[in-house]
């Protein structure tokens, strides 16, 4: 028996077809059934649908198929937009974009200020900058002021935005957020693509994810392998003495690998796990 969107074909030769009937929900349920089909079947044939009396003409066949596919696709998309892991990814990518923009703007404002013989940020005077000595250079006009105000506003926005991201990360990634902080956990998720993919990653991947350039230069030209990727942003690693960072990165990555599995399969904080993970990390730090 072959299942098509319009019904079941019992026998390809005689084209006997069990027709599907019912309201809209029946058709959508059917759509979801057939779109997860895993066994190859012969492509659909509109004549089968016509013979079974489901449609009269080819126009009608395409009309209904189009309608069902549009509704079904909308339902698929709706399912995806409700997934909180994907929402978190959008949020953390937005945050990182703000950071990039802020950096560029600050750099620009800095250069601009110096070219006007002002200091930047306003009020921090390095010794060699003479402020207000040359009248021709000290009138930045409105433009620079506007830019500086915008930077300030963006910095404030960034702060509240980051708070939101952290709060969301605590929901989606309750265990890993505790271990490495919400932002780092969210960035790991963003690199992985979604929560199921993140949960299936081995610790070694989590350790170097985000260090793509270094990893491929290691694999292809034999430079030394990267010790850490995104995970380096965790203070346990970047605050560690240089010699210890590789070890810390491995230990934290192992803990995170377990944490994300709990995040995905349980979806709640597991205190016993967290205290165990913390103990392991503390041991790695102490044990040189």
């Amino acid at each position: 028996m072959y299942r098509y969107w319009f019904g079941d074909i019992e026998d390809r030769e005689s084209r006997s077809c069990v027709r599907l009937s019912g309201g809209e929900t029946v058709w959508i349920t059917r759509f979801f059934q057939v779109i997860s089909n895993t066994i190859p079947i012969p492509p659909a044939e509109w004549e089968d649908a016509a013979q079974a009396g489901i449609v009269r003409t080819r126009e009608e066949y395409l009309h209904y198929l189009r309608k069902i596919c549009i509704c079904g696709t909308q339902a698929q998309l709706a399912e995806r937009t409700q997934r909180s892991d994907l929402v978190l990814i959008e949020m953390v990518r937005g945050l990182d974009e703000i950071d990039r923009v802020l950096n560029r703007l600050q750099e620009r404002a800095h250069d601009w200020s110096l070219s006007l013989n002002l200091h930047y940020p306003p009020g921090t005077a390095p010794g060699w900058v003479q402020d207000g000595t040359n009248a021709a250079f000290t009138r930045p006009g409105k433009a620079l002021e506007i830019l500086q105000n915008e930077i300030q506003r963006l910095q404030e926005a960034r702060r509240s935005f980051a708070k939101e991201v952290r709060a969301m990360a605590e929901q989606v990634l309750p265990n890993s957020s505790v271990l490495v902080g919400g932002l780092v956990a969210a960035r790991l998720l963003s690199e992985a693509g979604d929560l199921p993919a993140l949960a299936r990653m081995p610790a070694s991947t989590l350790q170097v994810i985000g260090a793509r350039k270094a990893l491929f230069s290691h694999l292809q030209t034999g430079t030394s392998s990267p010790r850490h990727g995104i995970i380096f942003q965790d203070k346990k690693i970047h605050n560690a003495p240089r010699r210890q960072r590789g070890k810390m990165a491995r230990t934290v990555a192992c803990a995170v690998a377990r944490a994300v599995k709990l995040d995905f399969f349980r979806g709640e904080m597991v205190p016993e796990f967290l205290s165990d993970a913390r103990a392991r990390i503390a041991k790695a730090r102490g044990g040189k």
């Binding site: 895993t38 066994i39 492509p43 998309l77």
Partner: protein
Amino acid sequence: MIWAGEILVSPGKPAAGERAVNGCRVWDPSRSKLAALYHLGDGPDLIATMRVLYLGASYGTTVSHVADYVEVVYAVDSASRPMQDLLRLCSHRKNIIPLLADAAHPERYMALVEKVDLVYQDIAQRDQAGIAIKNLHFLRPGCSCILMLKTRSIDVKRPPAEICAETVQWLSPFFRSVATTWLLPYHQDHAAIVCEGLI
């Protein structure tokens, strides 16, 4: 294909903001690889009775032009963001059937898609030839497949010509003839592989 002098057009109602010549939509070769192919060489003509399976529909720029010419386009794409735009396009056009599915798993849409006269593929994956071969399941015997080979998606280090030759070798057992057109100057490192006459 319909030409207005040197300009390729498709017989559809131009939407607001679209360039039009003689009331037809201009099909820009630097935006669409298929248009580039028609400008550079000879792809198979699109005719009004054709059914097309389009893999890698993306935002639907090319899909909309193909749909202007043919009877029906089955537009497959696995990414949800472009699919939202594609759905908007589908609401204006009666002959595009959107499918949010992975072209590497054609069995997922076998219950929805019928036999077609043209398989067109434009996807950024490693295994582009393999995906095309899997989807030949939908192609009628004697009909054509156009594969827009993104050599950079397969391997950035190997020379594009080598990758292309390899892909042609994989596809040629299935067809009577396989021809390659490089899409310069419109698209860098992209080859259009036109496979005609499915055996």
